[in-house]
Amino acid sequence: MIETLDQIFVLLRHWLVSYLPAAWQPLVGVLLSVAAIVCLFPALFALTTVFERKGLARIQNRLGPNRVGPFGLLQPIADGIKSLTKEDIVPLSADAAVHFLAPVLLVVAVFMGFAVLPMGRNMVLVDMDAGLLFYFAMSASTELSVFMAGWSSRNKYSLLGAMRAVAQMISYEVPLLLSSVVVVMMTGSLSLTKIVAAQSGFTWGLPHWFIFTPWGCAGFVMYAIATTAETNRSPFDLPEGESELVAGYHTEYSGFKFALFFLGEYLAMFSISGLGTTLFLGGWSAPFSFLTWVPSWIWFFSKLMLSIFVFIWMRGTLPRLRQDQLMNFAWKFVLPMCLLNMMVAALWRFMGDGWLRWVICSAILIGAYAAMGWGEMRRGRIGPRSYRYAE
């Protein structure tokens, strides 16, 4: 029974496909999975928008949307209808073809990333040998559509926002890759299913997730910072800083195309959270040995939603960075820490079992972190801000 529940989607697909002639079965099976992904994640996106608004409201001691449907849960439907029926405005001087292609390509590229994410036991669309590389290749190609959107609008705010977004995504892609490389170093594989398999098993009821190792924990923190910047979320949301750039690269988009950008941003958030879950949080495996009976896909999606919650929480807390602070942070703090983390991971790998490697690896990472923070603070680069005119 529990086995069936765990594999319910796989069995469902088998059952549906079994009515077809054998020659069609693989193709239709893949199409069914694609359809499931294409339906599920936008639905999750719709729910997330309303939860994000409610969560942010609660953080600011407000109520949030509560008018449409029970607890405002039907708000995304109302928003969807609104954006679908809105007039689709293309600026007169815009490059119409590129302007149209940009949101479409963005969403397509983001959707491609879901193909390699294992969302449960046996639940992966393509179990690719180079899955992680594929994922990063796809996420790298979203940058170009952001640029296309900004450039084709013929609006200086759009162009500025796009240039900022592209510069930011390029800079933070380096730490993103380097923080993921530690996992590849330890598992010796780029296949995401193998990475999940490497984190299975329990010691004293606790799982073997990579986040519970010194290098994994540091890598996860770096990964979280890089993903926040990569998806243009607050506090790194200066590509769309409303106060200075109107809305960044999607200023000139309206109606359904704007909704596509919105969708793309949230889908990128889902997929990159899913990847982080897979790399550091054990993918679909249970957090305690006595909870292994819960279906694997429930674990994957609860971890996913937990990371989305952290995204929202950070958005409700942190103010936006300045461009120079952003770049300094990427190149002068996150990147060196990632490189150090790679070395620590190598050290861990070759020190063998025992408590010594725990002590040494943790000491190196914490020491480097503290020293870097102390040095930066002494030079006055970071720390409490002073205001010239206020107070």
Partner: protein, 166 residues
């Protein structure tokens, strides 16, 4: 299988042609990414997964963006007044056509001796990685040095000169 190849080849060649023929420089860069993507798909068609994804990651994710940045930094998106092709375009075209003729002739002449299809090589990423750090370790190190040098060089070349140093 062959059908897929023709589509991809057409995509690649069309992207390349557009990149070289269009007036607007940014359009050229975007067409170039189409050519790169087509090429990556051709790599996948040749069962070279790793090379295909590396192609997308490096060319579409980095080189195309670099080109686009360079175009915007040099105000290249404004169409020049006196045409996009140089005065000696005919000579260039003839040379290129000649090169193509020679290459094509060579390929067609060698069709009988070209190797025919073999079984799909079962190459995993693990094998590629092992090869990189065993048999090809020296080229790998040299590439690493080259990339570092190129990075430093690019930064120094593109950096603003300080006003006081002039």
């Amino acid at each position: 299988m062959s059908f897929v190849f023709y589509i991809l080849a057409a995509l690649t060649v069309a992207g390349g042609l557009a990149a070289m023929l269009l007036k607007n420089t940014v359009h050229c860069a975007l067409a170039l990414t189409v050519a790169f993507a087509g090429q990556a798909l051709l790599f996948l068609n040749l069962d070279a997964q790793f090379a295909g994804f590396a192609q997308i990651l490096v060319y579409i994710g980095a080189v195309a963006i670099l080109v686009v940045f360079a175009i915007l930094l040099t105000r290249g998106s404004e169409t020049p007044r006196d045409g996009v092709f140089s005065g000696t375009w005919l000579v260039g075209l003839v040379i290129a056509a000649g090169v193509f003729a020679v290459l094509g002739w060579a390929v067609i002449q060698s069709i009988p001796v070209l190797p025919h299809e073999t079984a799909v090589p079962a190459v995993t990423v693990l094998q590629i990685g092992n090869a990189l750090v065993s048999r090809y370790v020296l080229p790998l190190e040299i590439v690493a040095v080259l990339l570092t040098a190129a990075m430093i060089g690019a930064v120094i070349v593109a950096m603003h000169e300080k006003e006081g140093q002039k």
